[in-house]
Each structure stands twice: as structure tokens, then as C-alpha cells.
Symmetry: C2
Subunit: 344 residues, 2 copies
């Protein structure tokens, strides 16, 4: 880890910790010269969420907690809550975290769409699938739009790497860690990362099914968690918006937008766009985990290549569908239906 | 002028001057402590373009020159040409110009849509029109989207105030001045400002018509200039893109996007979005000049209130149409047709 990484990780941990202390480990001390972060030890039985999902453990509060974390950190660092003066000052500071942004640009938005020595996939099973990704013009057009949004749109302080490996859990506790990729970017990148990785976890379940445990019920729990994550996020985020509608946020000035009918109109537009961004970024994050450089343990831990390839192909097909057709999805229930359909 | 203003003006003049020396006055010296800019004196017969448009003077090279200025300054400061490392460094620096961004946010995206003591209009003629703007939910929804883009999207180093009062001209020379509002924002804000102000100049012509000079031919020249500005901008911008398609710009990596068919697809998408941004921002800039705080001499110099109101109302109606329906416009010729229709 470079020194710069530690600096932005500490900065984001502190900022997110202030906004959502229940789900971010406390930073006790940061020493910039030494790049030393002294922070809360997440004691056992906390484990990495991804490992819990592979083991088939249910976390009944996961959607509640993660939607809370995302709603608070994204809302309070956006222009829905802040003045443009505060916002620009913060944006400028996090522009310094360029090296890790560049890494994301490469591994999420570039590598999977070209021949790259870093790419790999379950070969030979997915050879044609990987090639199809590289040759799909519509997919590449959509990914270019998302990449531009990632590089240009300073919507909120995002975690920047909010997959299921950046969350530690017990049945009662959910802690978001490792925000070294944090910067001011599009909100949908965080929500998409989390939801996309839940979808990967879902499609991997058949590879983890064993005699006497077909994971059928667990898969239903994951689907419910996906649905609840967005639904609760939507509720919490719009509740914060409502709570602060007369505040100092400068995106929608009270004097102009605080009429119920208009308020509803702008919120619906905002949340619809955010939903589509979420699906787009989520899909891009899924694709890169199947045909890009860094894969996920959810699939990698499936020993049988053929079985793994079948799981991965379903996830890849869903991701392509979401990336290309996301604007036709109106609700998270439709996404869950699409997952079921592809999995059948 | 505050000291900060002078700093960003000098910075932008130098940056734009490097990219398009033919149309930006040279800065000889800048002293930050003294906030002193030593720059080229734009000698007579240079006059402010707006005054030339009011006087009915044709500038046959205007579209050629302005499209060149916009294509070069916007292309070379975007991710079509730059790496994200360079881009983020520049974005961070210009985040410091927040006070003038806030002024734009207020006068362009807020004041016209609420009761504000700073607003004025040709009363009583436009009283109902101004009220209609304040009560138009669709208009306010669209303006909110543009404001977010203005505040969040660091697409290129824009001039930030590119109306016809920021351009000095002779029949052979076009010089862009006063970039103290410069920052990294959406490209369409600059193109829209220029085109929107040409449209205002068009609708003001009937107020300047006199015995023996009905301005009919001049109006045709303005319409041609509007059309040529976008057409030439489109040509020059995509030519720069083509010229640098194997360069270091990171929005569309050569390894992924340099197949002719895909290249065309992404360019068409990019230029279509930019066209719609241009119409949206152009419309917002027109509206604020009719019912907001700062008006334009094009209309203000029309002595007869009733006559002025008629001109202004036509411009306002066009602006509302563009702002609300811009995504249905496919070409600049359709915009010119809409202008003619509203003027008839």
C-alpha cells in the first residue's frame, strides 16, 4: 500500500465514520508521515461478508445496515445536503486519489473489453463468452458512458470498492472497511458494486450446493437481500432528503422545489436515474469479475471448472442484459425476475 | 474584481491561449500578488460582438472562428485528449474558482425560477410570462438536471461565460476574452451560451429594424451563423477526435474503440448528447436574460417596451421549448426551423 493510499483510506474512514458510525470502524489515530492508521479491531466473530456468503450464512440485518451506510454516506456528501462551496473543496482534495481511480478505470472499464494479458476466465468453457464481450459494440458503447461518468461526475464521496470483500459482518454487526479507493464519483458506483456482488454470490450458489444442502433457501435469501437493499436504500435516502429539504443543500433550493408535487417529480427522476446508474455500474463490476483480471472467491472456490463456468456464464449473461437494457428496468423486482429467469 | 477572479482569468487565458492562440489575446505577464494581468490590447476596430450584432454588422468568419475556439479548447482539455491524471490535477485547481461558479448557479439556474428581488422583466407585458416560468414544473425539473450537471460534471475546461459580450470582433478577427468564470464543467455550457446569445440577438432584430432597414437579411445571416457554428463545431471537434484517436486520451482507449464502426457509434452518441446539453444550457441562458437579474443590451436597447416585450416573449417561448423538448431535436437545422416558426 502506498502512502497516498493510506491517507485517502484514513480520510474516507473518518468522513464515513462521522456520517454512519454504526457501520464504519472508528479511526483512533492517523499519522500521515508514517502512513499509520490506528483503528478499531473488528473482533471475532466478524468475518468478510464474501466468505459468509460462500459458507451460506444468512445475515438478516445486512440489507438494513448496508442501505443505511449507503444512504447516509452518499446523501450527506452530495449537493442534496451540501453547499457547492463545501462540495468543491472536498472534490478537490479527493482528486489527489488519482492512482487508485486509474486502477478502477483499467480493471473495470477497460481490460474486460480488450485483449489483455491480465485477463483470464474459466477456459476453455468461457473462451467464446470472453470473446463475445470484446466484440460487443453495444456493450462497449454503454461501458464508455459509464467510464465517463466515473471519471467526470463528482456526485458524492463514494467508497469506490464496495464489494462483499469490503464488508465485515456478524449476524448483528455490519462494518464497511477498506475505502482506499474513495473519491467524489457517481453514487451508483457504490450501490452497483454491492448489489452486483450479491448477484455474483447468488449465481455462485449452485457451485457450493452439496448433498443435503441444495442452497435453494439460501438463494432465496440472497434475492430478498438484493431486493431489500435497494428498497431500503430508496426509503432511507428519500427520507433523508425529506428531512433536509429545507436545509442548505444546493441541488434543489427550497424556494424553488419545496412544493409537494414538484418535490415528488424531481425525486422520482433522481431515483430513477440512480437506479439505472446502479444497474449499469453493478453490471460492469460483475463482468470484470468473470473475464477480467481479478476474480471473486465466490466463483474461484468452485473446484469443478465446468460447474464454475455454468455459474459464471449465467452471471455474465445477466450482467450484459443489465448493462445494455438497464433503462428498461423500472423496479428492483424486475431485476430479481430477470435473475430468476436466467437462472432457470 | 476579487484577486481570485484575476487569478483564474489569467490561468484560463493562458491555457486557452496555448490551445487556440488565434482567438485568445496573449497574456504577457501575470502577477498574482498584485492580481495584475498584462495582456494584448485588442486594438480598434475590435468591438464587443454583442454591439456589432445590435448594429447589424455581419461577421462572415464568426462561426468559423468560434467553432474553432470551442472545438480546440473543449477537446484538448477533455478526456478525449488527456489522461485522467492530468485531468484530475486540473479539475482540482479550478475547484478553487467556486465563488464565480456559485454566481452562475444563482443567476442561471435559480433566480429565474423563484421570486427574487433581483429579477426583473419588461413589465407589465411579461408579468404572466415570468410567473409561468416560476410555475412550470417541467421546466424546473429540467433546470435541476442541468444545474447538477453544471456542478458535478468536470468534462472540460470551459470558459464559463461565453456570451456575445465575451467576444471581441472585427470582420477578420475574433477574440474570446473574460474567462474569469472558467472551471471544469460540461462542454454544452459554453456552446449553449454562445448559440443561445445568437438566438437572443436574432429575436431582438425586429426591435432594431428601422425605416429602410427591416433587418430581414441580417436575421438570415444570424440564422446561418447559428447553423454554421454547430455544424463547424461538430466537424472540427470530430476531426480533432479522429486526429488523436491513437493518442493518450483515456475516455476511449484505442485498443477498445478504434474500429471504424464502433468509433462512429461512440462519436454519434457523444455528439448527440453534447447537442442536447448545448440546447439545454443555451435555453437556460436565454431564459435568465429575459426574466432574471442581468439582461442583455440586445433587448435593453429597444426603447419601446411593448416592442421589446414582443421580441423577448418569442425568445422565451423558444427557450422553454428547447429546454423541455431538446431531446427531440436531432439537428441544428431543426432548431433553426423552430426559431423561424416562433418568429413567424
Amino acid at each position: 500500500m502506498t502512502k497516498e493510499r493510506a491517507y485517502f483510506e484514513a480520510l474516507a474512514l473518518k468522513e464515513h465514520g462521522k456520517l454512519c458510525p454504526d457501520h464504519v470502524p472508528e479511526v483512533y489515530h492517523f499519522d500521515r508521515t508514517m502512513s499509520l492508521i490506528g483503528m478499531r479491531y473488528l473482533e471475532p466473530p466478524h468475518i468478510i461478508l464474501r466468505k459468509g456468503l460462500i459458507a451460506g450464512i444468512k445475515y438478516p440485518l445486512l440489507a438494513e445496515h448496508m442501505s443505511e451506510f449507503m444512504a447516509k454516506t452518499l446523501f450527506y456528501t452530495s449537493l442534496l445536503y451540501r453547499t457547492t462551496t463545501e462540495h468543491k473543496r472536498n472534490v478537490a482534495e479527493f482528486c489527489g486519489n488519482v492512482e487508485l481511480c486509474r486502477l478502477t478505470e483499467q480493471v473495470v472499464f477497460s481490460d474486460p473489453y480488450k485483449v489483455s494479458k491480465f485477463n483470464h476466465w474459466t477456459s476453455p468453457y468461457l473462451d467464446r463468452d470472453a470473446e463475445a464481450v470484446r466484440e460487443d459494440n453495444t456493450l462497449k458503447l454503454e461501458v464508455a458512458g459509464l467510464k465517463s461518468m466515473f471519471c467526470e461526475r463528482a456526485q458524492a464521496l463514494i467508497h469506490g470498492d464496495l464489494h462483499t470483500g469490503s464488508v465485515m459482518v456478524t449476524p448483528n454487526s455490519t462494518q464497511v472497511i477498506d475505502p482506499e479507493f474513495a473519491f467524489y464519483g457517481p453514487m451508483g458506483f457504490d450501490i452497483g458494486a454491492f448489489v452486483g456482488n450479491l448477484i455474483l454470490a447468488f449465481f455462485a450458489q449452485d457451485g457450493h450446493a452439496a448433498e443435503g444442502n441444495d442452497r435453494k433457501e439460501y438463494k432465496e435469501w440472497i434475492l430478498r437481500t438484493i431486493e431489500e437493499t435497494w428498497t431500503l436504500f430508496h426509503q432511507k435516502f428519500t427520507a433523508l432528503w425529506h428531512q433536509h429539504k429545507d436545509g442548505s443543500g444546493e441541488a434543489y433550493l427550497p424556494e424553488i422545489y419545496n412544493k409537494p408535487e414538484l418535490q415528488q417529480l424531481v425525486q422520482e427522476k433522481f431515483m430513477k436515474d440512480l437506479f439505472h446508474d446502479t444497474l449499469g455500474f453493478g453490471a460492469a463490476k460483475m463482468i470484470r469479475r468473470i473475464v477480467g483480471v481479478a476474480h471473486v472467491e465466490d466463483f474461484e472456490s468452485i473446484k469443478d471448472d465446468s460447474k464454475r463456468a455454468t455459474c459464471e456464464r449465467q452471471a455474465l449473461e445477466l450482467a450484459k442484459l443489465l448493462l445494455k437494457e438497464r433503462r428498461n428496468f423500472q423496479a428492483i423486482t424486475e431485476v430479481v425476475s430477470a435473475i430468476r429467469k436466467l437462472h432457470a
